[in-house]
C-alpha cells in the first residue's frame, strides 16, 4: 500500500493536535496515523520529512524522538 497523497499534512496535523502537551514524539506514535502501513514505510516517510528539514530529531542519548523543527521548550537552548 502507498501512503496517501496528503500524508505530510496528516503528520503535521497530528503534531499540531498534540502540541499543547508535547513537542516530541516517538517514531511509533506516527504509526498510529497510518494504521494500515508497515512500520518500515512510515519510518522511511518520517525520516524523509526530516531530510526535507520539516521535522527534526531530538535525542535523549539513549532514544530518539521526533518533532517539528525548532519546536519545544528547550529547543532554543540547543546549539548556539
Amino acid at each position: 500500500m502507498a501512503l496517501p497523497d496528503n500524508a505530510k499534512e496528516m503528520v503535521l496535523d497530528y503534531i499540531e493536535k498534540k502540541s499543547k502537551t508535547k513537542s516530541k514524539f516517538y517514531l511509533k506514535d506516527f504509526y498510529t496515523i497510518f494504521p494500515d502501513e508497515g512500520p518500515r514505510t512510515v519510518k522511511n516517510f518520517i525520516n524523509k520529512l526530516v531530510g526535507e528539514g520539516i521535522l527534526e530529531y531530538w535525542s535523549s542519548g539513549s532514544s530518539t524522538m521526533i518533532g517539528l523543527k525548532g519546536a519545544g521548550k528547550q529547543a532554543g537552548a540547543e546549539g548556539e
Binding site: 511509533k28 506514535d29 518500515r40 519510518k43 532514544s63 540547543e78 548556539e80
Partner: protein, 432 residues
C-alpha cells in the same frame, strides 16, 4: 600554570596505573603551547575547564553536567550525545560539550596515519580528549560545540572515509572480538561479518527505525571476548557441529609438562604439575572425556562446546571444522525489568559470505519486523520477548521450539492454549 587548582585530582597522578589526570594536563599543556599551530575551533583552554569542572565534582561528590537533546548532524538520528555544563560561567570552555561517536573499524585494528588523521580533526575541532573506546565500541570524541558537528562529519566522511557511530533509537555500532584474524578458536570471521552487517544496515544505524536502541556483537567462540551475551540485543557466537580435533602427541606433551597448560595463562603461580584428569577431564561439564591408555577420547555428541578443554590445551585440541554461529537475543542492562543475558534463539546458523550471510540476515530481519511492529516505545527486544513470550518470537522467526531453547522446561503448568489447538473450540452449547 594550570588554569584551575585541582588538588583532589592531583592525588590521582601518583600510583603506577596510567593517570588520566596527568594525561589531561599533558593535553592542556600541548594546547596552551600549540606548537603545531592548530587553528583551534573551540576554546584553547577546554581541557583546563574540563579538569576544573571535574575537580568541582570531586569536591561536591556530584556531576556538573546536564543533558542536551542535540542529535548531531543533519539527517542522522544519532552519533552525538549532547551535554551542557551546569557551571558555564566558571567553565566557559566546556559550557557546551557534546561527544561524537565515530565508527571504529572491526577488530579495532588501526594504522598510525589513520589515528593521526582522526586526531588532526579532533584536536582542532574538539577537546582533543577521547575515549578509546566507548563501551559499545565506538571511538568517542569527548566534547565539542554544536557548530563543529557538521564540520567534523564532513571531514570524517570526505577525508577519512569514516562515518559516525550510533546512538538514539537506532542500531548501535556493532562490535566484535578479534576473531579469526588472530585467534585460533574463532569459528567464523567476526571482523568480516561485523563489517558486512554494519554496512548493510547503515540506514538503521543512522536513522531512527526502532522503538529503542538495538545492539549487535560478534564473538568468535563461546569464550565471549566481546561479551556479546551480556551486552547485545542480538549476540552472534561462533560454534561448531562436528568433532573437536585432537593432536594426541600434543596431549602427551601437556601431560609430560612440555607445554604450559592454558597457553601459559597460569604461569604466575606454582600450581604443581599439570594433571589432565583433575584439570580437564574432571572439569568437563558434560563428563564426556576420558583417557584410553595414552589416548584422550571425547564423546563429541555429548560435548556442549564449553571450550574448557580447548582453552586448557590449545596446542592439542582445536575446535571443529563444521562451524557456524548461535544467535542469542535480548541481552541488556538492568533498567527496567532487571538485567538480561542473551537467550538462545537459533542454535546453529550457517555463516556464508558467498550468499551475503542470508541465513543470518533472515533471522535479524524477522526479529526486527516483529519488534518494530510490537515493541513499545523504549522497550528493548529482551523486554518484548518477556512480555510477548518466547513462543511468540519462535512464531515470528519461524524457528521450531526445541529443548535447546530452555535450560529447563517450565515448572508451572500455566499453559495457555489457543482456541484452534483444542478440539471442539471454546464456543459450546452449555445445555448439551
Amino acid at each position: 600554570m594550570a588554569k584551575h587548582e585541582t588538588p583532589l585530582l592531583d592525588q590521582l597522578e601518583s600510583g603506577p596505573w596510567p593517570s588520566f589526570v596527568s594525561d589531561m594536563k599533558l593535553e592542556a599543556e600541548v594546547r596552551a603551547k600549540n606548537e603545531a599551530g592548530i587553528e583551534f575551533q573551540i576554546p584553547v583552554d577546554v581541557v583546563d575547564d574540563l579538569m576544573g569542572v571535574l575537580e568541582l565534582s570531586y569536591v561536591h561528590g556530584r556531576t556538573h553536567w546536564k543533558h542536551g537533546g542535540i542529535v548531531g548532524v543533519f539527517g542522522y538520528g544519532g552519533g552525538v550525545i549532547g551535554r551542557y555544563c551546569d557551571q558555564p560561567e566558571m567553565f566557559p570552555g566546556v559550557a557546551h560539550f557534546h561527544t561524537v561517536r565515530v565508527a571504529q573499524p572491526a577488530g579495532k585494528y588501526y594504522k598510525a596515519d589513520y589515528l593521526r588523521q582522526l586526531m588532526d580533526i579532533w584536536q582542532m575541532r574538539g577537546s582533543g580528549m577521547t575515549n578509546m573506546h566507548g563501551s559499545t565500541g565506538d571511538i568517542i570524541f569527548l566534547g565539542t560545540r554544536t557548530e563543529q558537528l557538521e564540520e567534523i562529519f564532513y571531514e570524517l566522511t570526505h577525508n577519512l572515509n569514516t562515518d559516525l557511530g550510533g546512538s538514539g533509537s537506532n542500531l548501535r555500532t556493532p562490535a566484535d572480538c578479534i576473531g579469526s584474524s588472530r585467534c585460533e578458536f574463532s569459528c567464523y570471521d567476526t571482523n568480516a561479518l561485523c563489517h558486512f552487517l554494519t554496512n548493510l544496515y547503515q540506514d538503521e544505524l543512522h536513522r531512527p527505525a526502532f522503538p529503542y536502541k538495538f545492539k549487535f556483537k560478534f564473538d568468535g567462540c563461546p569464550n565471549g571476548c566481546v561479551a556479546s551475551i551480556a551486552r547485545s540485543d542480538m549476540s552472534f557466537i561462533g560454534t561448531w557441529k562436528d568433532d573437536i580435533r585432537i593432536d594426541q602427541e600434543a596431549v602427551q606433551a601437556y601431560i609430560g609438562g612440555e607445554i604450559a597448560p592454558n597457553g601459559g595463562a597460569f604461569k604466575g603461580r606454582d600450581w604443581g604439575a599439570f594433571d589432565i584428569q583433575k584439570e580437564v577431564i574432571d572439569l568437563c561439564p558434560t563428563e564426556c572425556m576420558w583417557m584410553e591408555g595414552k589416548e584422550l577420547k571425547i564423546d563429541n555428541k555429548e560435548c556442549n562446546r564449553c571450550m574448557h578443554c580447548i582453552n586448557a590445551m590449545p596446542r592439542a585440541l582445536r575446535v571443529g571444522q563444521d562451524t557456524g554461529l548461535s544467535i542469542l537475543v535480548g541481552a541488556k542492562a538492568p533498567i527496567l525489568d532487571g538485567q538480561q543475558m542473551g537467550s538462545l534463539l537459533a542454535p546453529f546458523v550457517e555463516v556464508n559470505p558467498e550468499d551475503d550471510y542470508a541465513a543470518v540476515t533472515e533471522v535479524i530481519e524477522s526479529i526486527w519486523d516483529w519488534w518494530m511492529e510490537e515493541g513499545k516505545n523504549r522497550e528493548r527486544l529482551g523486554e518484548l520477548i518477556r512480555r510477548a513470550g518466547f513462543q511468540k518470537m519462535l512464531e515470528v522467526t519461524g524457528i521450531k521450539a526445541d529443548a535447546r531453547h530452555v535450560s529447563e522446561p517450565r515448572c508451572n503448568p500455566y499453559i495457555f492454549w489457543k482456541e484452534d489447538e483444542v478440539p471442539g473450540g471454546w464456543e459450546r452449547d452449555v445445555k448439551e
